[in-house]
Symmetry: C2
Subunit: 231 residues, 2 copies
C-alpha cells in the first residue's frame, strides 16, 4: 500500500508531494534525522527521480530537510540554537498575524477555530497524537490565513513544520504541545477583537510551549561515558 494511492490518476504535482511530506513531518510520522532515499520516494509517490530531486530542493529551502552532498536527504534535526530561533521567529510572526486576525475575524472564522479546538480535544481523547499535533499546527496556520498576509502565512507554514520536529526532538512523551485552554483564551480575545490581548496571549502561549521542552544539545564531542552513568 503506497502512501499516495492516487487511484490510477495522473502524476501528483510537486506541491501535493511537498505538502504530503510536510504533513507526515507534522504528524510525527517522519522523525528528525530520518533518511529520505530518492528511490523510496519515487516508489511511494509513483514519480520520477527528476521530480523527487526538485521536491527535495524545495523542502531543503524550507528548512524541513537537510541535504548532505553525496549522502542524500534527511529530515532536518534542528539543534538547540535553531530550536530557540524558530520559537523566537514564531513569536515575531504570530504576534503580527494574530493582531491582523483580531481586526478581521468574523463569526464564521471564529466557529471554524472553535471546531478545530474541539476536533483536537477529540483526537487527544482517543489517543491520536499525530492528528492532535497536526490540528494544533493547523490552528495557528488558520489564524495566519485569517490575518490575510500570505507572505507571513508561508513563513509560518515552514516554522510550524519545524516546530513539530523540535517537539519530537526535545519534548517529553507526556507533555502536550499546545494546550486547548490557551487556544480557547486566544479565541476569546479574538472574538472581542482585542488584538493586544490576543498578541499577549499568543506570546505567552509560544513561550509556554518552548518552556515545556528540554532544549539542550546532545554532546557531540568525545562523550564522557563515566559522567553519563555517574561513575
Amino acid at each position: 500500500m503506497s502512501i499516495t494511492e492516487d487511484e490510477l490518476g495522473q502524476p501528483l504535482s510537486d506541491a501535493t508531494i511537498v505538502e504530503r511530506i510536510v504533513a507526515a513531518v507534522m504528524e510525527q510520522k517522519l522523525a528528525a534525522g530520518a533518511k529520505l532515499p530518492e528511490a523510496a520516494l519515487c516508489d511511494a509517490f509513483e514519480c520520477s527521480r527528476t521530480q523527487i530531486r526538485r521536491i527535495l530542493v524545495v523542502l531543503a529551502e524550507r528548512g524541513v530537510v537537510t541535504l548532505h552532498p553525496n549522502r542524500g536527504a534527511f529530515i532536518a534535526s534542528p539543534d538547540a540554537g535553531e530550536a530557540r530561533e524558530v520559537f523566537e521567529a514564531r513569536r515575531a510572526i504570530e504576534r503580527s498575524t494574530v493582531i491582523s486576525a483580531a481586526a478581521q475575524i468574523d463569526k464564521t472564522a471564529l466557529a471554524e477555530l472553535r471546531a478545530n479546538v474541539r476536533a483536537g480535544a477529540a483526537a487527544e481523547a482517543r489517543g491520536d497524537r499525530g492528528e492532535s499535533i497536526r490540528l494544533t499546527g493547523q490552528f495557528h496556520l488558520r489564524l495566519a490565513e485569517i490575518g490575510g498576509n500570505s507572505v507571513l502565512t508561508k513563513f509560518l507554514e515552514d516554522l510550524v513544520a519545524r516546530t513539530s520536529l523540535i517537539i519530537g526532538l526535545y519534548g517529553s512523551r507526556s507533555a502536550r504541545s499546545c494546550s486547548d485552554a490557551d487556544h480557547e483564551a486566544l479565541i476569546d480575545a479574538l472574538g472581542e477583537r482585542d488584538g493586544a490581548r490576543a498578541a499577549a496571549t499568543m506570546d505567552h502561549h509560544l513561550h509556554d510551549i518552548e518552556g515545556a521542552l528540554d532544549i539542550r544539545d546532545a554532546v557531540s564531542g568525545p562523550v564522557d561515558i563515566r559522567r553519563i552513568f555517574d561513575l
Copy 2:
C-alpha cells in the same frame, strides 16, 4: 564579458550563483518581470542546465523568481497586495530583529553600521543608485545578523530582495528608498540599547518607505482608454 568571470576556476556553487542573482535584483540590475532564459544563465555562469534549473527552483521558493510552466523563469513582479504584505512582514520581523540587536550590540557592530550609512551617502552623492540601494538593504540585514537569529535573517534576506523589486515597480525615480536620517536615528537608539525606541523607529521607517511608494495595481482587465486620457 561574462557576469562571473571566475578566472579559470572551478564551477561556482549553487549558493554563489543564487547570491549573485539576488544581488543583481537588489541593485536593480534585474528588473521585475525580466526573463531569465536557462541558456543565458548557463552561459553567464558557465554551468550546466541541471544546476541552473535547481537554482531557479530555489529562487522561486524565495519569491524572487516566478516560474511559468513551459515558458520559463521570470524575475517576480509583486502585485499591490503582495507588496503591502511584504512590508507588513518586514515590520513584523524587523521589529523583532531590532529589539534583539539593541540587546546585543557592541561598539564594533555600531561602527560597522555607521560605516554602512557613510558608504551609502557616498554612493548616493556620486549617483550610484544601485550601490546605494544595495547598501541600505545591507544595513537592515546586518541589523538582523546582529540580532543573532539566523531563521529571521534568512526570511529577511528574501524580503529585502523583494522590496527592491517593489521599489523598482512602484517607486518614483527621485525618491530615496531608505533615508540616512532614519538609519542614523536607529543607530542612536541601538547605541543606547533602547530596544523599544529602536523598534518604534524601525516601524516608522518601514511605514515611511512604503508610504513613499505609489502601490497600485495596473488595471489588467478591459482598460478604459477614454478614462485614462480624461476624455
